[in-house]
């Protein structure tokens, strides 16, 4: 059974110019121990999905879904305090700009200790403090920080972004969650640090069987990390499937364009030629086109595209397009 099961999640946001549908009928499933990547441009609603899943929404948001389950619990019918309990025990999240996500006036060590739930303490209450401290050290070792003493005594502003992200991960795994939501965890980090963080996530996934929902705008970062990939555009899932399916044989023109825009995927490009990009820009949520939301920018758009395409499935590979790429030849032979 899927660990996370979201059906037709819709998020509407009240703005001064009226209500906008930031996320429209998105379905996601995440199996136990799976790494799923959610790829999309900024403003496509990836982070909103994560926040709705965690239940940290603003009063101006309206979140609806046919189904939103974690294991056998229906998240939408829970009271706020039950929801918080789930956040404490089962779901954890890490963010971009990790150094701003740690309390600036508390030592890192104390923050990690606070993140360790007291319910996990073994032995009597008199052992709590020592136990928590040792546990915090063990967590830091687990995320690859050897010099635990220096890190625990420093304040967040004294640490680099990479170290802060490792600390955030340590805090996130302190309660041994089933799901880790990583919201662009490597943005604004240099490549080596980003790699370390991604390797660490991979290791956690393999060792603890933690399912990871990796939200990113960069197809590079998930290169050999994700098991499955969902591509999201303007609040719609446009393509979803196994890693090799989506990256190897993208059906949706948007996925194709995303891959084409990556320098490594088009080595046969002429010297000084422009990278192939789609014309136009991602539309504002107030002015979404009718039908397929990629319509006005799509190189293959035709008359049918004014009707919104439904998700179709082919060999476990979901796509929402009337004229998919890489498909004709496949059907013929």
């Amino acid at each position: 059974m899927a660990l996370i099961d979201i059906r037709n999640l819709t998020i509407e946001i009240d703005t001064p110019t009226g209500t906008v549908k930031a996320v429209d009928k998105v379905s996601l499933t995440l199996a136990e121990g799976e790494i799923k990547a959610l790829v999309g441009e900024s403003g496509s609603g990836k982070s909103l999905i994560a926040k709705a899943l965690l239940g940290v929404t603003k009063p101006s948001w309206r979140v609806r879904a046919d189904r939103m389950r974690l294991g056998d619990q229906d998240l939408l019918s829970l009271s706020p305090s039950q929801r918080r309990k789930i956040l404490k025990n089962d779901i954890a999240m890490i963010f971009q700009e990790p150094s701003s996500c740690l309390d600036p006036s508390v030592e890192v060590g104390k923050q990690i200790e606070q993140a360790i739930p007291l319910s996990k303490v073994k032995g009597g209450f008199w052992r709590r403090f020592q136990w928590r401290k040792r546990q915090a050290e063990a967590l830091l070792h687990k995320v690859g920080i050897k010099d635990h003493r220096a890190v625990m005594q420093s304040f967040p502003y004294e640490l680099s972004d990479g170290l802060c992200q490792k600390v955030m991960i340590a805090m996130a795994i302190a309660s041994q969650p089933k799901v880790l939501v990583a919201d662009e965890p490597t943005t604004a980090m240099e490549a080596t640090t980003a790699n370390q963080i991604l390797r660490l996530l991979h290791k956690l996934n393999k060792l603890n069987n933690t399912a990871i929902l990796l939200i990113t705008h960069d197809v590079h970062t998930l290169a050999d990390l994700a098991d499955t990939i969902s591509v999201i555009y303007c609040g719609h899932i446009v393509e979803s499937g196994r890693y090799d399916q989506v990256l190897g044989q993208p059906y949706h023109p948007y996925t194709g364009a995303l891959l084409d825009a990556m320098p490594t995927h088009n080595r046969d490009l002429e010297k000084k030629a422009k990278l192939p990009t789609l014309p136009g820009a991602i539309p504002a949520l107030q002015h979404l086109p009718i039908g397929c939301r990629l319509g006005p920018r799509c190189p293959k758009a035709q008359r049918e595209c004014v009707v919104q395409p439904q998700l179709k499935k082919f060999k476990g590979h979901l796509y929402a397009c009337h004229h998919p790429n890489n498909f004709q030849q496949k059907e013929n032979g």
């Binding site: 404490k88 954890a92 963010f95 701003s100 996500c101 740690l102 600036p104 006036s105 304040f155 955030m168």
Partner: protein, 320 residues
């Protein structure tokens, strides 16, 4: 930290010298035609005398000014300390609430209330209070520090501490008298620091609520209350402390006005009387003591903030 301490001490010393310079220039006996060397020597002698606590002899009472100041200042300080204590007890919860619910009706209500309270002149506020609560109901006394029949010895000058020198049988009735006398002036005086604290804390809390670590704390399953207590308050309160330390000056000024209204035997009444009698030595001495007190309070608050708030320390080190 040592670096910062030394820099703040520099500020303290220089400001002290400047205040002394101003007092020195306005001395009625000051002779502008002195040669520079002699003038400097005079100035240093003046500063030295002030440092030793020799503020001159009052021409009215014939007693040393320092002695008079020491007799009247503690009463004023007691009033100010009570006012600040009240302002913290009242202002911190209100300011935090207003900051957390800034966009909601509650926040706007508190904001409007603060603005109204702040615009009431502090010398007017006692009058309706006296008329309604006191003269009609007789709840609290409206003048003096304690019952005239009581004889509290002057040891520290702070009546609340001095009552402990009284014999056991008189101690608690005297304490009761002291406390009931300080209620009204304390409340009225606390209006100034409270409104200031609420205003600053509202802005500061609202700013902290926007920060990523507050949002991140929410994703860790902490309730709003525990987020506010654990993360918001101790990031929002320390940065506004130096500003409050600066408020000590205006509170002291307001206390002097209120002393006239409440017949409080403090330094304000003494100073205003000195002005009536054209007792320049006393005015100058009182001014020096009060100014020194204000800058010392500011520097001490600033150092205290740096001590308890790591972000303040970071600012210090980042400047190097």
């Amino acid at each position: 930290m040592l670096h910062y301490f030394i820099r703040r001490m520099n500020l303290l010393i220089i400001t002290f010298l400047v205040i002394n310079l101003i007092a020195f220039l306005f001395q009625p006996t000051h002779d502008a035609n002195l040669s520079p060397n002699l003038w400097l020597a005079e100035y240093w002698r003046f500063v030295g005398a002030n440092l030793r606590g020799d503020l001159g002899i009052s021409v009215v009472s014939g007693k040393p000014v320092a002695e008079e100041v020491l007799r009247y200042l503690p009463a004023t300080l007691e009033l100010c300390i009570v006012a600040f204590a009240i302002s913290f007890v009242v202002g911190v919860p209100i300011g935090t609430l207003a900051g957390v619910y800034q966009q909601r009706p509650l926040g706007k209500f508190i904001n409007a209330g603060t603005l109204i309270t702040q615009s009431i002149p502090v010398f007017w506020l006692p009058l309706p209070l006296m008329m309604s609560v006191v003269s009609l109901q007789g709840w609290f006394p409206i003048s003096g520090r304690y019952d005239l029949l009581l004889e509290i010895p002057q040891h520290t000058g702070f009546a609340m501490l001095d009552v402990f020198w009284l014999p056991e049988s008189q101690r608690w009735p005297a304490m009761y008298s002291v406390l009931s006398h300080i209620v009204l002036p304390g409340i009225v005086l606390s209006v100034i620091p409270t409104t200031e604290l609420v205003r600053h804390l509202t802005t500061s809390t609202a700013k902290v609520m926007e920060q990523n670590y507050v949002k991140a704390a929410a994703t860790m399953g902490k309730s709003k209350l525990s987020i506010v207590l654990r993360h918001v308050l101790h990031n929002a309160l320390p940065p506004i402390l130096p500003g409050l330390g600066l408020q000590f000056g205006s509170v002291l000024t307001a206390a002097m006005v209120l002393e006239m209204v409440f017949a409080w035997p403090g330094i304000g009444r003494w100073l205003i009387n000195s002005i009536y009698f054209e007792d320049y030595v006393a005015i100058q001495g009182g001014m020096l003591v009060i100014a020194t007190l204000v800058i010392t309070t500011f520097v001490v608050t600033d150092l205290f903030t740096a001590l308890i708030h790591p972000l303040r320390r970071r600012e210090v080190y980042a400047l190097r």
